[in-house]
Amino acid sequence: MLLNPSAAPPPTEPEVLETLGGIVARFDRRRALLVPILQAVQAQCAYLPPETMPLVGRHLGIAASEVYGVASFYNQFRFFPPGRHPIRICLGTACHVKAGDIILENFERKLGIQEGQTTADREFSLERVACVGCCALAPVAIVGETVHGHMQPSKVEGLLLQIQIAREKAQREAAAASPQAEDPSDD
């Protein structure tokens, strides 16, 4: 939930910044509209880019820190863009009893991010959810659209590896399909 220097959100794309200004300008300069503005930004951008705070602050004549204070109070606001593979860890009652928090911790450690954050390459985002409705499978992790039941800390690495292999395979295939395209050198 908190921004921290070790895992700062990836830089905002210029087109997102442009929409940001458009959204904010639609609203009156009333302090009471702070939360509706933030909601509109999130509806458009899927998260609150860091530039939101000073921009909204200037629009309403309040400090950026105050905007951040309000936004961080509500669970609905996120400060990181959703990853290509959103990972949601269930911490509902059954998953809690079955030590879902240890599964979350393992994902946090393996990905090097904290709950609510997104990896720098935008591949993975990590979130906790209340209950996904399959308590018999506790503890549950949802990777993308796939539900993984009976999670174990030892399964975390394999799951991430699977996704990485699938991605590399897709990259190779794409490269093979268009040989003149430049090879993605690093990684």
């Binding site: 000073p54 950026a64 951040y68 904290q114």
Partner: protein, 216 residues
């Protein structure tokens, strides 16, 4: 001037004065963390409880304006019980490492714990993880969440001095922290006045390494 009685002792105060300030000025110590003279009471630290003659339950002294004939008791069992549990709650989320803490010996928590005879360390309680990751958003100020008692003195002081506060409460519940937000535009710059560092009762705020030190 009007007269009120604190623990049976008559003291003369200006009508409408703040009870906590009046008692402190008269040399009667009431534990307190969050009060800032001249600003509206925050009453967030829950430490300055006193019993008033006409009220069944103790109230925070910082929220009371004195009236003629007010009867105040600062040392009833109910008052001390509330103060001790408030202090224990604060200490439960505070990393006790006084010897290495820059606020050692001038820390308000140490003084209050000694006054209320509450042990600083509770080996029977497991230490809490400090909330969030590394504190702050990379600005000139670093607020250590494992020491911060969330009294809000820094936030209110900054707002009083500069109109806006660079520091803010972020998050909520057990994961609330005080943090600063780096302003990208010219709107608010930290003026390096150091007022927030000065008013912090527990030494939780310091300048980030590399930022210029106001004391130097």
């Amino acid at each position: 001037m009007i007269e009120i009685r604190v623990d049976g002792q008559p003291i003369a105060v200006c009508p409408g004065a703040n009870l906590l300030e009046a008692c402190l000025a008269a040399g009667i110590y009431i534990p307190h963390l969050c009060h800032l003279p001249g600003l509206p009471a925050a009453a967030s630290c829950r430490l300055c409880f006193v019993a008033l003659g006409d009220r069944p339950d103790p109230v925070p002294a910082c929220t009371v304006a004195v009236q003629p004939g007010l009867e105040v008791l600062t040392d009833t069992p109910a008052v001390r019980r509330l103060q001790r549990s408030a202090l224990e709650l604060l200490l439960s989320a505070h990393t006790i490492d006084c010897r290495r803490c820059p606020a050692n010996r001038r820390c308000a928590l140490q003084r209050i714990a000694r006054f209320l005879k509450v042990p600083l360390k509770r080996p029977d309680l497991p230490p809490l993880d400090p909330p969030g990751g590394p504190p702050g958003t990379g600005g000139e100020l670093v607020v250590d969440p494992s020491h911060c008692v969330l009294c809000g003195r820094c936030v209110r002081t900054c707002r009083r001095l500069h109109g806006h506060s660079r520091l803010t409460f972020a998050g909520r519940g057990q994961r609330t922290v005080v943090t600063d937000w780096v302003e990208t535009g010219p709107a608010i710059r930290c003026t390096d006045c150091g007022a927030c560092i000065e008013v912090c009762p527990v030494g939780a705020i310091r300048l980030a390494p590399g930022a210029n030190d106001p004391e130097s």
